[in-house]
Amino acid sequence: MLAGPMSDSQPKSLSLSLLHVAQSRALAVMPDIWACGVVFLYVVVRAATLDLTHDEALSFELFVSGGIYKLFGEYDASNHILYSMLARIFRGLFGLSEFALRLPSVFASALYLGAAVSFARDRFSNVWSRGFVVLILATNPLLLDHFSAARGYGLGCAFLAWGIVLACRFDARGGAIGESRSEAYVLGIVIGLSISSNLVFVVPAVAVLVWLGAVFLRSIGSATGSPPLLFGLYVNGLAGPAVFLPATLWALPLRTATSSNFYVGFDSLDQFKLSIGSLLLPAGFAGQWLPEKLRSVLRLGLDVVLLPELAIGFTVVILVAAATGWFRARSASATTKSAVATTFLFLLTAGITFFLWGVVGVKLPVMRTALPLLVCFEFAFVAGIAAVLEMGHRRMLLGAPLLAVAAVAVFGNVLSAPRDYFLEWRYDSQNREIVAALETEGRTLGREPSVLTSYVLSRSLRWYGERRNIAWLKRVPFPWERKQEPRTFDFVVLFPGDPIPGFVVNGEPWRRFETSGVEVYRNR
C-alpha cells in the first residue's frame, strides 16, 4: 500500500503547498484531502454540538467576557492569550455561542490538518500513504478534543505542527539556508504563535530553536553560510520574532504570575507514565473498542513495559534507521534528516520536561498539558516511517511493525474517539439538559430554588443558566467549603467522583444523565 518516500523532496512554502493542492487533478486521487475533510467535519460537528465545559466557561468568564482589560489582568493558567483574543473577535463577529467561542480552535484544526498534509506530501510520494499519514497525525482523540474545545491548546498544536513542518524544510535546504530570510521569519512567527497560544508550548519551542540552531551551525562553511550572516539570520530573523511575539502578548498577564499559577500536572513519575502512556501514539490501544479480555492482556503488557518505554523503543528504531547520520552526511536525504531531527525534537522536548520537573520543580504534564509531547511524537513517528521505507531491502523488516502499530493506532483512535463528549470533561457533556431540567423543575417550587454543586460543574451550569436567563442558578458551596452559616438547597448536582469526603447523599437521584454520569438529587 505504501510507496517509498520522496527522495529528493524540495522544501516548499506554505503558499506553494496550498497552490499544489489547488492545482491537483482531482480530489478523488487525494486521500489526504479526504482524510482532512472527514477529520475537519468531525471537529466542526463537535464544536457546534457539544456542551460547553467547565474549563471553557471559566476561560470565557475570566478572559473573554467583559472589558478588554481582562486579557491583561491577573494571570491564570486558563488565559491562553492568543485564543482569548481570537475568541473576542469571533464573539464580536458571530455573537455569543459555544461555536463562536470554539471557532479559534476549529481554525486551528484546519491549520493543523494543513501542516499534516504538507508534511505527508513532503515525505511521501504515494497518495494513499499520504492519506494514511494524515490520519496518523490527526486522529488522536485528545488532540481532536482540543480542536473542538474553546481553549488555546488546539492553536498551540497547530502552530507547533507548522513549526515542525517548516523546520524540516529548513533543515532540508542544507547549505542554502542563508537565502531563506523570509522563511526563517515565518518559522519564527509560527513558533512565537505556538507559545502565545499556551505557555506549555514553550518547551517544544525551545527544542525547535535548539534544533534550528544546530541546523545553522551545520551550515557554516557552506556557499551561502558565512557565520555572521547565519548568526544574524538565526538571531534576528528567527529566534528574535519567535521570542518577541509571545513576550509582547504575555508581558502583562505574566507580571502577576506566581508558581502556584502553573498547575500543569503530576508530581509523580508513575502517574505521569500512565498518563503519557495513554497519550502517545498508540492511544487507541487504551480505548474502549477492544474486547475486555484483550484489553486486560494489553494492560498487563503495558504495566510491564510502559508506553513511554515503548515510545523510546520506537525512537531507538528510528535512530537506527537514520544511521546515515545527520551531521556526518550533508548529502543525507531530506527524509532521513527530518526523521532524525523530529526524533531529536521529541527527545529534547521530553528532556526539557524532565529537567523542569527534576531540577526546577515544575509538575509533569498530564493529558492536555502533554499535547506538545504528543505532537512531537506523532511527527517523529511519521518521519521515522518515511525514513524506514526509504531503506530499500530492509524496509519490510522494520517498516512492517511500525506500519502495523500505526494502523492499529489509527483504527483504535477512530473507534475510541467519542463523539458526544470531551475525554477530559465527560461530566460536562449534558450541561444543557441539566439546566433545562433544573429550570423546569425549579418552576414547580414557586420560588427561586438553590442548587448545591461543586466548583467543577458550577461555571458551565451557570453559563447555560445565563443563556436561559436563570438568575437563580448560583452555586451553593458544599458544607466543608462554607465559611458562613449553612444554607439550604433544593437540588444537588453531582458528577461521578463528586462529592468529596464528608458529604453523603441519601436516596435515589431525581434524574440521572447517562452520558455524563451526572446525578441530580432533590432535597425533600
Binding site: 491583561f72 544574524g232 528574535g240 521570542v243 518577541f244 513576550a247 509582547t248
Partner: protein, 754 residues
C-alpha cells in the same frame, strides 16, 4: 467658558512667545528645516530663551499679565518682521499619506484625551504643591522670590518660569497644557529623526510607544516638568543628528541651548550636557567636522542656560548647587543631614534593598508602577529586544544616549526620572522590531490598548501612579465648579482655601504633610524641606517622641584645672545626628554661668550655639550632619577658668554620640590654643523632664513665628495633638475628615517674631 478662554490665552502667550523666540534664533542662524521639525525645534529652543528672559524679568520684579502679553507680542512682531516663515521648508516626500494616516490613527485619540486631562483643574500632587505653588507665590508678589524654607525652590525652574507669564493669565492649567505641547514636539522630532535615517515606521512606532506610555501621559497633562525635559533632551539629540547628516556647524547652537535648558529645568538632566560634550569632542576630534570655536559656542550657551540658577542659588541660598552638595557649600538653609534625609529614600524608595532587587526595576517601572511611582507600559518593557537592531547606527546612537541619560537614575529611582531616556530606548526597540513584518502593529496594538487610561486602571495594581478616569466635559468646561472638582481630587484643597481666608501673611505654618499650595499664597514649612524646618521639627518632636525627648544627661567630671578653652569633640562615625540641648559648666560644685565674653565656636551651624545656654530644653544645637569624628563645640574663655565638670543634655535617640573632652591652654605670648585631652569620667543618666515640656514646645514654635500646625489625619502626630490640645497649648482651628489645622495659643509675654 471664560476660564477655558483664559487658559487658552495664557498658553498661547507662552507658546507664541517661545515659538517666536526660537524662530528668531533659527532666522538669525539661517537654519531652514522642514516645517514640522522646524516648529518643534523653534518651540524647544525658544522655550530656553523665553524662560531665561522671564527669569530676568521675574528677578527684577516685572511679573504681571500686561508685561506677559507685551513680551510675547513683541517677540511675535519681531519674528514676523524678520520673516521667520522663510525658514520653514516643505514636508519631505517620505511623509507619505499612508504614514500620516497611520500616525493620525495612533496619536489623535491619545492627544484628545490628554487635552481633556490637561484642561481639567490641576490636582497633581507635585504640581498642585510646589510647581504651581511657587508660581502662585511669584504671581502674588509679582516677582521671583527666595523661599529658604523649601528645597524645591532651589531646584532648576526652567519650565516653571517659562510657564509663569501664561500662569498669570490662565492660572493652574497652563503649565499642564504646555507639557502636552512638549510631548507633541517630542513625537514630531522622534519621527523626524527616524525618517531622516530611513526608518519612518520605526520612528512613528517609537513616538507612539512614548506618547501612549502611561507615565508619560501622566506627566504630559499635569504641571510637572519630566515630559518637557525629555522633549528638550531629544531636541538636542535631533540637532546633533541633523549636524551629523548636514555638517552644518550652526546646529550645535540650539543643541547647546537645549542641553543647558534641560539642566536648568531638572538637575537630573545633567547627563544631557555630558552627551553634548561627548558628541562635540567626537565631531571635533574624531570626525573632524566641527571647528572648536563652534563647539565652545555650544558649550558656552549650555552653561549660560544653567548659570542663572547657579547664581540665584549662590546669592539667595548660599550654595550654587543648592539644595545639594551642602557639605561643599555650608549654608544655613540646607544641610548635609537634611540633604541625606531627602536623598537617601530616593535611592531606594523604601523598596530597593528592603525586599526589592535591582533586577526587578525594569519590571517595576514598566509593568507594576506601585513601588517606583509610575509605569511606562509594555513597549518599554521589551526594550532588550532592541539589541537585535544594533547594526543600525541610529539604534546604537539611541542606546548610547539613553544609557548616558540614565546615569543619574540610581540617585532617584523613581520611574519619572527615566523619562529623558525613554524616547531613546523606545527608538532603540522600534528600530529592531521594525525589521520584522507585522510585529510593530502587534506591539503598538498591545501597548496602545493596555495604556488607555480606562483599560490601564483595570489591570494595573492599585496605587500605581496613573491618570484617573477620562475627565467629563462638564469638568473641563467648568460646568462643575473648579472648587468642587478639586475638593474631590485633593483632600487638603479645603485646607489651602482655609489658610487663604483665615491666615495673615507672614504667619508660619508648620507641617509634615503638604497641602496644595498652588491654591493659596501661604507656604508651609514642611519638616524635611530645609534646615529651618528641621529645626522646628526638632523642637516639635521634643514633646512628642521619646527618642527626641531631652532627658539624657551626660556628665564629664575631671580634675579641676584652669583652662583657657574647652572643646567637646564627637569621635564616632555612624548614622545619626548630634543634638545637644543644653551645656553647663561647673567649678567646685558651682555653675559657671555663660558670659557674653565667651567665644563659642562649633564645627558647623554656628547660628544655633546660643541655644546651648538658653536654659530651654526644647532648643539646642546640632551640626546637621551624620555623626563623624571632629564635630565639636568649643568655648574660649577670656581668661583661664577652673572647670571640673561639664553637663550636657541630649536626647534619647537610638544612635548616641561619643565624646572626648579637650582642654586648651594659651601659651604665653600666643593667641593659638594648644589642645590636650582631658581625662574625664563620663557618667550618664536619664533625668526627669519638665512636666510642661509640651507647652514649652508650643511657646518655642510661637517664638519662631509658627502660628499654625497643619496635619493630615494620617500623620503620626495628629491624634496625639487632637487628644491633648490643652497640654500643647493649641486649639484645632479647622478640620475635615482628612486634615486638621491647629492654632498655637499666644504664650503670655512671648517675644513675637515672624
Amino acid at each position: 467658558m471664560m476660564t477655558l478662554l483664559l487658559i487658552g490665552c495664557g498658553t498661547l502667550v507662552v507658546l507664541l512667545g517661545s515659538l517666536a523666540a526660537g524662530g528668531l534664533l533659527f532666522r538669525h542662524l539661517r537654519l531652514a528645516l522642514p516645517w514640522h521639525e522646524a516648529l518643534a525645534l523653534w518651540f524647544l529652543s525658544g522655550s530656553a530663551l523665553f524662560s531665561t528672559v522671564w527669569f530676568v524679568f521675574g528677578v527684577c520684579g516685572w511679573v504681571s499679565p500686561t508685561i506677559a502679553v507685551a513680551v510675547s507680542v513683541t517677540l511675535v512682531v519681531l519674528a514676523l518682521l524678520s520673516r521667520v516663515w522663510t525658514m520653514l521648508g516643505p514636508l519631505p516626500a517620505t511623509y507619505s499619506c499612508r504614514l500620516l494616516a497611520y500616525a493620525s490613527v495612533l496619536f489623535v485619540p491619545y492627544c484628545a484625551i490628554y487635552l481633556l486631562y490637561a484642561l481639567r483643574p490641576e490636582a497633581s500632587p507635585d504640581g498642585s504643591y510646589y510647581h504651581n505653588g511657587f508660581l502662585t507665590l511669584y504671581a502674588d508678589v509679582h516677582r521671583i522670590v527666595p523661599v529658604p524654607d523649601s528645597l524645591y525652590a532651589a531646584l532648576g525652574q526652567g519650565i516653571e518660569i517659562q510657564a509663569l507669564p501664561g500662569f498669570l493669565i490662565g492660572k493652574h492649567c497652563v503649565p499642564g497644557l504646555l507639557q502636552v505641547v512638549y510631548l507633541i514636539a517630542l513625537a514630531v522630532l522622534m519621527v523626524g529623526v527616524s525618517v531622516r535615517a530611513g526608518l519612518a515606521k520605526a520612528g512613528v512606532a517609537a513616538a507612539f510607544l512614548v506618547f501612549a506610555a502611561p507615565l508619560v501621559g501622566y506627566g504630559a497633562t499635569q504641571a510637572l516638568n519630566d515630559v518637557s525635559v525629555a522633549a528638550v533632551v531629544f531636541g538636542m539629540f535631533a540637532c546633533l543628528c541633523l549636524h551629523v547628516a548636514s555638517n552644518d556647524y550652526r546646529l550645535v547652537v540650539p543643541a547647546g541651548l537645549l542641553a543647558g535648558f534641560a539642566v536648568a529645568t531638572k538637575y537630573s538632566a545633567v547627563p544631557a550636557t555630558a552627551v553634548l560634550t561627548v558628541y562635540l569632542v567626537w565631531a571635533m576630534l574624531l570626525r573632524r567636522r566641527l571647528p572648536w570655536r563652534w563647539a565652545m559656542v555650544s558649550l558656552t550657551l549650555a552653561a549660560a542656560m544653567i548659570l542663572p540658577y547657579l547664581l540665584r542659588n549662590a546669592i539667595w541660598y548660599g550654595n550654587p548647587l543648592a539644595p545639594f552638595q551642602n557639605a561643599w557649600f555650608p549654608n544655613p538653609n540646607f544641610s548635609p543631614w537634611q540633604e541625606w534625609e531627602y536623598r537617601e529614600p530616593l535611592r531606594t524608595y523604601g523598596w530597593l534593598g528592603a525586599g526589592g532587587y535591582w533586577w526587578q526595576i525594569p519590571g517595576e517601572v514598566t509593568l507594576n508602577g506601585v513601588r517606583l511611582q509610575g509605569l511606562y507600559g509594555v513597549g518599554p518593557f521589551l526594550v532588550p529586544f532592541g539589541l537585535l537592531g544594533l547594526r543600525n547606527s541610529l539604534s546604537r546612537a539611541a542606546l548610547a544616549t539613553g544609557a548616558m541619560l540614565s546615569i543619574a537614575f540610581p540617585e532617584n529611582i523613581g520611574a519619572r526620572f527615566l523619562m529623558p531616556a525613554i524616547p531613546f530606548l523606545a527608538l532603540f526597540l522600534a528600530i529592531a522590531v521594525s525589521r520584522w513584518p507585522g510585529m510593530l502593529p502587534v506591539l503598538l496594538l498591545i501597548h496602545g490598548i493596555s495604556s488607555w487610561p480606562s483599560v490601564l486602571a483595570r489591570w494595573s495594581e492599585p496605587g500605581a501612579m496613573q491618570l484617573g478616569p477620562i475627565p467629563s466635559i462638564s469638568e473641563v468646561v467648568r460646568t462643575i465648579p473648579e472648587g468642587e472638582s478639586l475638593k474631590k481630587r485633593l483632600p487638603a484643597y479645603d485646607a489651602a482655601r482655609w489658610f487663604e481666608k483665615n491666615v495673615a501673611r507672614g504667619d508660619r505654618i508648620f507641617a509634615y504633610s503638604t497641602f496644595p499650595e498652588a491654591y493659596t499664597v501661604h507656604h508651609a514649612c514642611v519638616a524635611y524641606e530645609s534646615t529651618h524646618c528641621y529645626k522646628l521639627s526638632d523642637v516639635f518632636l521634643s514633646g512628642l517622641w521619646d527618642r527626641y525627648r531631652p532627658d539624657r544627661q551626660v556628665v564629664f567630671a575631671f580634675q579641676p584645672k584652669p583652662i583657657a578653652a574647652l572643646r567637646l569633640e564627637q569621635v564616632a562615625a555612624k548614622s545619626g545626628r548630634l543634638d545637644i540641648r543644653e551645656l553647663r559648666l561647673y567649678s567646685e560644685g558651682k555653675e559657671v554661668l555663660y558670659d557674653g565674653r565667651w567665644e563659642v565656636r562649633s564645627s558647623a551651624n554656628p547660628e544655633d550655639l546660643q541655644y546651648l545656654f538658653d536654659r530651654r530644653l526644647v532648643t539646642g544645637w546640632s551640626p546637621w550632619e551624620n555623626f563623624r569624628p571632629g564635630q565639636f563645640v568649643e568655648l574660649r574663655f577670656p581668661e583661664e577658668t577652673p572647670i571640673d565638670r561639664i553637663e550636657i543634655r541630649i536626647t534619647s535617640a537610638e544612635s548616641q554620640p561619643e565624646f572626648r573632652v579637650l582642654g586648651g591652654r594659651r601659651p604665653a605670648g600666643s593667641n593659638v590654643i594648644a589642645w590636650t585631652p582631658v581625662a574625664a569620667r563620663r557618667t550618664e543618666q536619664v533625668v526627669p523632664i519638665p512636666t510642661d515640656l509640651r507647652r514649652q514646645v508650643s511657646e518655642e514654635l510661637y517664638r519662631r513665628g509658627v502660628r499654625f500646625v497643619f496635619a493630615m489625619r494620617s500623620d503620626f502626630f495628629s491624634n496625639e495633638l487632637m487628644s491633648s490640645q490643652a497640654e500643647w497649648a493649641i486649639v484645632a482651628a479647622a478640620q475635615s475628615p482628612d486634615w486638621v489645622v491647629f492654632e498655637l495659643l499666644e504664650p503670655a509675654g512671648a517675644a513675637i517674631s515672624r
